[in-house]
Subunit: 784 residues, 2 copies
């Protein structure tokens, strides 16, 4: 089954937000701060306002008079829409110009005269809590320093006790550096406020249209039913398109002020400099183990750098909540983790860049710690993992942090990955190669073999665990069946390339036994779809996919009532087979869904209380998260002379439960693996000590291409989720979660002869070369 949406994408017929052009539309541009931290002394907009094609110049002062200067974030913080008192990160929004064309808007930015008084910046998160550190958020009452939150999980006393008893303890500092999702399409919006009807129509490329509507309602003071958010085709999201950015609000204000539609589109550098980042976790991990490798306990301390505003999606009641999975896929007695979130003078961080909400960091840390333990115990990392992986009979597994993993057969997945890779043979080749190398032949490269095993927690879960702005993590689905039996499914999640138009149609087609082309999927428009929290955290299939299966089953049950009237038999005497209800014991007597749909809308007499349609609505509240998992093996060739790393092979065995569309699952995995290679080897957003962003273009922020990627070798196991209606688990982010550790472990494996146990990502040639030289490495902004 090929993707239905590709028919328009491959012909260039998608409609992205920048393709939306409305009569009389104006264009907005944002003036951004050149400083990471500075007081604003004055802003003079008179020259810009005098520009003949400029229609409005909006500053924080203007917004203050409209009570719009600050907006709520998705994480219980507030963020300046346009800076008033001071700027808190380089690239922060200071003013917004609306003009008749985009060139004039940009030109006029240069006519705005802002006087700044620079302040010292907090760049290193580990120094943010120093008593003498500059205070970034002096706007917050009772926030005397840069502290945001303390969060912990697990049993600290039991963990300490296990460490006290341990035969072996290893410790390692691990940085997951700040990275940017860098979607192909930057963020943008067209805001169209109709003064007469009081209705705001907002085209914006968001992953969560309904959550955006609620925030716009709160920010702009418009009633929720007077806001329509349309999220058209999107060129990639990866969490970058979950947050509300000031530009969106400025476009709305621009439209309200001018009475015209206003378009705002970021350029690449704005996107890379000022929209939501991910990671930036300074982690310290300790493992307690027996001498034979049996892990007893895990202890973790984290400083989490959230930037200047805790602004981006963090849909958990507890910040960093998904760090809950920090024990990974392993059985142990006890574990404890403490995370402290701090403000720094950087753009807001913490977006749900696959995977969301700290799972990627947690998975990376534990997989690095396992390899560090193997290094110290001189054990094979595959054997060490096999010894400690959870056993199938342990599921559903209550984790040391109080979560319940739904299902899994972890050893099977790892064995399959090892079989595909030919693990034993690889180790033999590596040993022979090393033999040569130690014998003095330094002409070639060194092989490294890296393993990672990850467990994700996706679905953004059960309502008791988490919310956004008090809203539960549910998603709605509506299925309308037309008289001819063709249907339209309306869902609350939004695709940024995931292929929802195909997979959701497949779910309905399967449940109703009708052709997949008979179902049209509608999404991305709050006026056309039921409420729901959107697409991120791999939650579409676990939540909205479940809603879709449920709503299709409701339609099937409704069809049964109508079929019973058509066939004049009791409901209880009907049996379902693909696409039809028939009379038990008489297969000839039956009615297809199409016949039933027409009859439901026809003049057929129906029993009292049976309505003449097959439509259904549902909202699905997941009873638990789903826990996809996987075993990855990466083989690299490292050139010790240059530090160059080449990924030779990559084996990925994913278990995401039942696969709705295997081709789309494979596509998702391919993308995530490439992502992992990029993060492990190339991607870094670096800052100098004044907080200047050193990588806000694709010349500096390097993304992997096909040149850096091998031909992926995929395998699968299928452990259905017991609580999902069709047993699916979600796979969008799995490969991004699992792959960085496999690549880094492989490079470290290759560097073992040099006595290198750990080096931080990204493992650029310089970083590898320096590791080999044995020079001390700065683990925070190590790239020159």
């Amino acid at each position: 089954m090929h993707r239905k949406e590709d028919a328009r994408f491959v012909r260039g017929r998608g409609t992205y937000v920048d393709d939306v052009n409305l009569p009389g539309m104006l264009y907005g541009a944002v003036l951004r701060s050149p400083y990471a931290h500075a007081r604003i002394v004055s802003i003079d907009t008179s020259a810009a306002q005098a520009h003949p094609r400029v229609k409005a110049v909006i500053t924080g002062q203007v917004l203050e008079s409209l009570k719009l200067a600050w907006m709520p974030t998705l994480s219980y913080d507030t963020q300046a829409v346009l800076a008033t008192d001071k700027v808190r990160f380089q690239g922060q929004e200071v003013a917004f110009v609306v003009a008749e064309d985009k060139y004039s808007a940009r030109d006029a930015l240069e006519l705005i005269d802002v006087e700044y008084e620079p302040l010292p910046a907090v760049v290193d998160a580990r120094k943010a809590l120093d008593p003498e550190a500059p205070v970034i958020r002096d706007d917050k009452e009772g926030k005397a320093n840069n502290h945001i939150f303390d969060w912990s999980a697990g049993d600290e006393a039991a963990t300490d006790a296990a460490f006290a008893r341990a035969e072996v303890v290893v410790a390692q500092d691990v940085l997951y550096p700040r990275v940017h999702p860098a979607p192909l399409e930057t963020c943008g919006a067209v805001a169209d406020f109709d003064k007469v009807t009081g209705k705001l129509t907002m085209w914006c490329n968001t992953q969560a249209p309904h959550a955006h509507r609620t925030v716009y309602a709160l920010v702009a003071g418009l009633p929720e039913h007077k806001i329509r958010v349309i999220s058209p085709d999107i060129g990639g999201g990866f969490g970058n398109k979950v947050p509300i950015y000031p530009g969106y609000v400025c476009a709305i204000v621009g439209s309200i002020v001018t009475g015209k539609p206003v378009k705002w589109m970021e350029d690449r550098s704005e996107n890379l400099m000022s929209t939501g980042f991910a990671r930036d976790y300074h982690m310290h991990g300790e493992v307690a183990a027996d001498r034979d490798g049996k892990i007893r306990a895990l202890r973790v301390k984290v400083i989490a750098d959230h930037g200047a505003f805790n602004g981006t999606a963090q849909p958990t009641k507890f910040p960093a909540g998904f760090f809950h999975v920090f024990t990974g896929s392993y059985d142990m007695e006890a574990a404890h983790c403490a995370v402290t979130g701090v403000y720094t003078n950087k753009a807001p961080g913490g977006v749900a860049y696959a995977c969301s909400f700290r799972i990627t960091e947690a998975a990376y840390l534990v997989e690095r710690l396992i390899d560090v333990l193997a290094y110290e115990l001189k054990m094979d990392p595959a054997q060490l993992r096999m010894k400690n992986l959870l056993k199938p009979e342990q599921f559903p597994y209550p984790s040391p942090t109080g979560w319940e993993y739904d299902s899994g057969d972890y050893p099977k997945a790892l064995r399959l990955a090892m079989d595909i890779a030919g693990y034993e043979e690889l180790r033999k080749q590596q040993a022979a190669e090393l033999q040569n190398w130690l014998a003095g032949d330094h002409t070639g490269t060194l092989t490294g073999i890296g393993i990672s095993f990850f467990t994700e927690a996706v679905g953004a879960g059960p309502r008791k665990h988490m919310d956004i702005l008090g809203l539960g993590m549910a998603d709605g689905a509506e299925l309308r069946v037309h008289p001819t039996g063709k249907g339209v499914l309306r869902i609350s999640v939004q695709s940024q390339g995931q292929g929802h138009e195909t997979t959701y149609a497949q779910i309905v087609a399967e449940e109703l036994g009708i052709p997949v082309d008979d179902i049209e999927v509608v999404h991305g428009d709050t006026d056309q779809t039921p409420f729901g929290l959107g697409t991120y955290g791999s939650r579409s299939t676990p939540v909205s996919g479940a809603a879709t299966a449920v709503v299709a089953r409701k339609v099937r049950e409704r069809a049964k009532l109508v079929a019973s009237a058509m066939l004049e038999v009791d409901e209880g005497d009907l049996e379902w087979e693909k696409g039809r209800w028939y009379v038990r014991g008489d297969r000839e007597q039956g009615k297809t869904i199409q016949e039933i749909a027409m009859a439901a809308h026809s003049s057929l007499e129906l029993p009292d209380g049976v309505e003449g349609h097959l439509d259904a609505t549902t909202v699905y509240n997941p009873p638990n998260l789903t826990f996809p998992f996987g075993a990855y093996i990466c083989v690299v060739d490292v050139d010790p002379g240059t530090g160059q790393v080449k990924v030779r092979r990559f084996v990925a065995v994913d278990d995401c439960g039942v696969r709705i569309n295997p081709t789309i699952v494979e596509g998702q995995v391919h993308g995530g693996l490439a992502d992992g290679v990029g993060m492990a080897l190339m991607q870094l957003i670096a800052f100098d000590e004044d907080g200047n962003c050193l990588g806000a273009s694709f010349m500096d922020y390097l993304l992997p291409t096909s040149v850096e990627c091998p031909s992926w070798e995929l395998g699968e196991t299928v452990t259905p989720s017991p609580h999902h209606p069709i047993g699916a688990k979600g796979v969008g982010e799995s490969a991004t979660v699992g792959s960085p550790a496999a690549v880094v472990n492989a490079v470290m494996d290759a560097l073992k002869p040099f006595g290198v146990r750990h080096a931080d990502m990204p493992l650029t040639p310089a970083q590898v070369w320096r590791a080999i030289q044995g020079r001390p490495l700065r683990t925070d902004l190590a790239i020159q």
Copy 2:
């Protein structure tokens, strides 16, 4: 409560179909037949095709190759999209030009060379069935003559027996002439077919978007879920915008052929000449009565002129089915009616021009017959009506035609109208005035006092009675409640000025106890609304209004489940009061709908099986029609010297059950009364004997203005419909149904001294003058 939609209408901010302009849009124009009946010998389009700005020229031959030359109508007939073999009415569609601008499209029409061979035309419906009459529909197999249908209702034998026993029998031929609804906005469409997605988006100003979608699906061979019909703001419908016209299909074909959006808009003359007409009923009525005026039976024979295609909405299993109400509001032993439908060489007739489906004709006939009986018995027409009106205790009343009138107090309504009019005093003044006139003072005008009492049957009813294309007469409603408690109601009917955005919001607000501004009403877009049959036949309130009340009550019940979880009490212990559920016996403990909506979407734990939302969907199948009624009294001044009629006063007492928005009801009544004055005195579409249409402009087809209308005097009684959830009945067409007879009866009342018993509408000065002269009148196309 003022109309919410007026905020945009009075500022000129409505969006009508001609306001829809798409990038790259082309313009279509229709070439129409100058003949009423002619064979097409040849069509040469080469010159038009050579026009530099012409993109396509489409003829019936082109459509035949696409199997699109004929389309199904809403009345089980087929209609030529573009004529191939011959043309059958003046103005019929022959070719369609698509050009880069509308002027070029019109210019190119003149470059098309059509050779016609004229044929004799059938213009007088009464001659259509003559064996030697030309056969119009030689396309139809087994249709050797111009017969369409025979339909009858009532008990013929019982009626004949009652007539045989009768003390008095009166008979009268009555013509209800052909009229046109003439909405302010003509018909039009923008068709946008996307080759890549296979999706057709069709903006067209239809009263029935979902029915249109189904027909487009059948015509164009597109699957139903790949068609989106958007019916934007509409400048009046009155039944004219129910049918599918060939121009719509041509616009679709034009878009498919050119790959561009194609706009087609009629001009006024096209609208008046070729879109759906109404009436054209040649009726013969007989009344059997006692000498004291008690009516015993009624016998009616009708020749119904449906034009060249039985093309327009007639959503009954039996053509002319709503003639069922031909016994009007009166008690009698027996009644029988026979209607024969015929083809003539005129544009398709029979649109649901208020009121739909033959009620207007039936109501006019019986009210004329009552006055003819009063004339012959020399009785006061008010007294005669009072004697024969159904009594309140007869309801629910089984009519002689097998229908069941739901509720009414007819004498009360008539008495109220007489009180408002000061009937007795008027009669005294009239007698005095006549006295003067007979005494030789002929300088002034003569007063005429006319009464009519009507019963409508609206809601287009119960599914066992009728359908369109096999679809039952149901309408859907969906209510979504956002987390903040604001809601969106989606309905399947479409407003053409009726104020749905206000009245439907009021229904929801009343049922949920929330502010009316918290509800947004969405309609007119098949992608956004549930399936339903649309707005005509005064069916919005009876069917869709009922669906709205039902869906709001479903939301209330759903809210009860959530409130029970919030308050931790059993559902059974909750009581409803305006806007909130509270704990029985403890009024302090309660939750408002807004609080419940937020909680439903929050992280509140809900019992198993209770979904986290308040949304609901329904489709309402009306168990019966509703039967609004009214008593009207018209006072006219007739100048016997010139034949000029001036409407001096008009009293209208309407009973439409419960009134949702009294101002809107009054507005509907005002419009219908003006309509009735126009039809009674001015409006006529006339044809010469070759079938040339003599009135295709507003110079010839006269519509009433404020000059012709008095200040309306309204009264009301309220008899709720027992089966409608809020007791409402629908009022859109009442005044159009009831008023013509009141005006004509008033004029005939004034002309009594001349011994004039009947003259056919429209009672233009010439018609009145000739009636007085005693000259024989042609009752079909009487106006010179």
